[in-house]
Structure formats: structure tokens, C-alpha cells
Amino acid sequence: MRVNFTVNGRPQEADDVWEGESLLYVLRERLGLPGSKNACEQGECGSCTVRLDGVPVCSCLVAAGQVEGREVVTVEGLADFAKQRSCGTGACGTAEGQDSQTGEGTGSSPRAALSPIQQAFIDAGAVQCGFCTPGLLVAADEMLERNPNPSDADIREALSGNLCRCTGYEKIMDAVRLAAARQGEAV
């Protein structure tokens, strides 16, 4: 079957989709967007979290056919999404101009501006293997959108659907607190 939907603001069309395919598979294998991760494919880890019409969901549990005509935001579009949101609130440009001191890198792709939550994850040491990171970023960004001043318990509850095996979550807590603090200063 064919599925038409919007991903990170761009219309996309996927053809010859097998009816049992998940949104996650279509993103990763058909649209060249492997940022959403395939860690459990049973809704028990949150690594594939995307926003479907604004709502965080596990893309592994959305049938591809169910996204027809709908809007999806993935980790690849998170920086733009955050930028547009801050423009909407009159705080344009806060996502730009941050140097993360990660210069030396193994990759050669030009650095896109990062969203505040992405930058905070790097700065706080919340990234190790990084496989849980995309899902956590999408979930944490959405929580900070709803709740700019979360308590620790609020952060833990909002991220309780995202497993991390490397960090012991302490640096993830630090990262979200850091992003919230920076967000508070920017407004």
C-alpha cells in the first residue's frame, strides 16, 4: 500500500508498504530517517518515540497505514521543531550559536543548530551509547513544552517510558534540569 504523511514538516510518500509495517520501519528503512531507534519494538523502551500530531508515541506500535495524512516529528526534526516553537513564543534564535566543544568528531556533516534539550544532553554527559537518546530527547522536549518547571518526580514520571542501560539516568536528570534552567533564563 501507499502512505502519504508529513515528517518534520516535509510531505513524504512511502510506496509498496507491507500492511504489517510499523511507522518506525517506514521512517528507518523507507524514508532514510533512522534516528528513531528499534530497541524493543514492543512499546517497552521508548527509543522509537516520535510525536504524532504533537503527541509522543512509540512509533513501533503505530501501523504505517495509521499515519496517512498525519504529522510526525522525529529526532531529526527536533532542532527545527524547537526553533519554530521558540519563534512562536517570541524567543527566536535561542537554539542557535552554541558551541558544544565537540569539534573533533568522527563525522564530517555540518553541525545543525541543536535544540536546547539536545545541547543539554551533550553538556551534561547524558549520552553514552546513545541508543536511547533520540527517544528521550523527543519525550523530554515535549515534557518541557508542557511543564517548563518540572520537579524531579515530574521528570522521572515523564521519562518513565524510556529505558537507558548505560547512564543510570543521573546525567539524564541533570540534562533535563539543565535544559529547564536554560529555558527559564531565555524567557
Binding site: M1, W18, E19, G20, S22, E41, Q42, G43, E44, G46, T49, V55, P56, V57, C58, C60, L61, V62, A63, G65, Q66, E68, A139, E157, A158, S160, G161, N162
Partner: protein
Amino acid sequence: MDFLRPASWEEALAAKAEHPTAVPIAGGTDVMVEINFDHRRPEYLLDLNRIGDLYEWEVGEESVRLGASVPYTQIMENLRAELPGLALASHTVASPQIRNRGGVGGNLGTASPAGDAHPALLAAGAEVEVESVRGSRRIPIDEFYTGVKRNALAPDELIRAVHIDKADGPQQFSKVGTRNAMVIAVCAFGLALHPGTRTVRTGIGSAAPTPVRAKAAEEFLNAALEEGGFWDNGEIITPSVAKQFADLCSAACNPIDDVRGTASYRRHAVGIMARRTLTWTWESYRGTAAHTEGVA
């Protein structure tokens, strides 16, 4: 596999009539796991996402008509006052991402004894509105669960909504899992006080082949409360009454040993939860308790 995308409820009923083996998919939180893990290859998937009616709820005089696909997140956030037991249960469902997709219709359709909504629905009193091209009917929740992962639906029927009595007294829900979030119930317990009828109702999850009520426990407690004049005098329920109620709730279980817990533990834990939720609801009824409902 074929993917059917009805744009309206009528189209969905027609599709289900034409393909009775079609598997409805709404939140996808059960169906997609089975597909991803190759446990199931239905001939037809019947997508219900486009049917807006299923995502709506109406608060009436006596009851709430809850669309089958209203996500648990919405129940938690918007129906806390009307459906406190179900709101608490909704908050224990899996993870925020799953609560954003899953709804009560899915729990009822799957009819797993571990579904989190069941004990709350049993305790509150509910009717399941189902429909086919042949017509619509309401199935009382007590008659809905017919076996392990089996329900009273005919092959051509779809779940449209659940009608749940609005709370006329305190309700509680409690669930044991071996993790503090994102966990399937080892066992669960729902309790609702109905001061209007001077009755209590219970619901037990994951401790029998189907979700069940502890009817003997309810009858015992109804009689004890009546006899002691508790509904009127608002006195503390005596420990011996609470204990017997808890023991009868344990006795209502017919659990198995499985990878999530032992049968013996399930009976034990249901008893503890029964006693605690009775204490919480009764304290709330007496109006003496300071906010003990937990967060929902």
C-alpha cells in the same frame, strides 16, 4: 494482509461484517506487538484511527459515555472527578507514550486478565456499547469477560463506547508490579464505594482467568456496613471487618503461577490491596482523610 481504513463508524461496521476475522487496531499497543514479534498475521487489519467519534466522551447525569479510543492520558487528565477509579488505573498503564495511544476499547477487546482498566470498570459498574450492522447492544461489564482473552463480542461486532456510572463516592485502584513504572500487573484491585445505593463494588485483575468481582467480599462488607450503621455514623471500619473483607477478596482469586508471580503471592497481595483501598476510600468517605488518592 490487507489494511482497511474506514472513514466512518458505519464503514467500519460494514468492513467488520464483510471480514469478521479482521483485527481492529486503534492504539496498536497490543496488536502491533504481536505483529512485530511474528505472533500474529491477521488477514485484515481494521484501522479505527480515523473514526473521530471513538475519541470523544460525554459526561451525562448518571454516567459517562467514554469513546472506545479515548487515550488513557485523556482519562487521567479530564475524567478524574467523574471516574476516579478508572483515572487511577489509567495512570498505571504502561508508559506515557502508551497512555497517549491506548484506550479502554483496546483493553476490552483484548480482554487480557491483566488489562489495567478492568478492575476499575468492574468496581464502578459499566456497560460496554457494542455494535454491528445488525444493531447495537449494551453488555453489562459483569457479563463481558467470558474466558482467558475472550469476551462477549460477536465476530461482526466492534466496541464503540463504555458507559460508566459517575462516581457517587470514593474509588481506588491499586496494582502490584515488580517495577515502579511501565509494568504489567502481577495483580490489581479496584474498589468503589457507592453511598447512593449503600453498596461497595470490587474488581480484581490478573488473579483469575478473567477479571472478576469479589462478590462474597462485597456482600459481606455491604452487610457489615449496614449492620453497624457505618454509612450513617461514619465510624472507622473495625479491623476485623477489614480483615474479613480482605480475606474474602483473596478467596475470590483463582490465580496461576507464572513468570510474573506466584499464585500464592497474588492471593496475598490482593488481600493487602483490598484492605488498604478499603481504608483509603472509607477515610475519604468519612471526610477525615487528607488527600490520599495518590497522583492521577
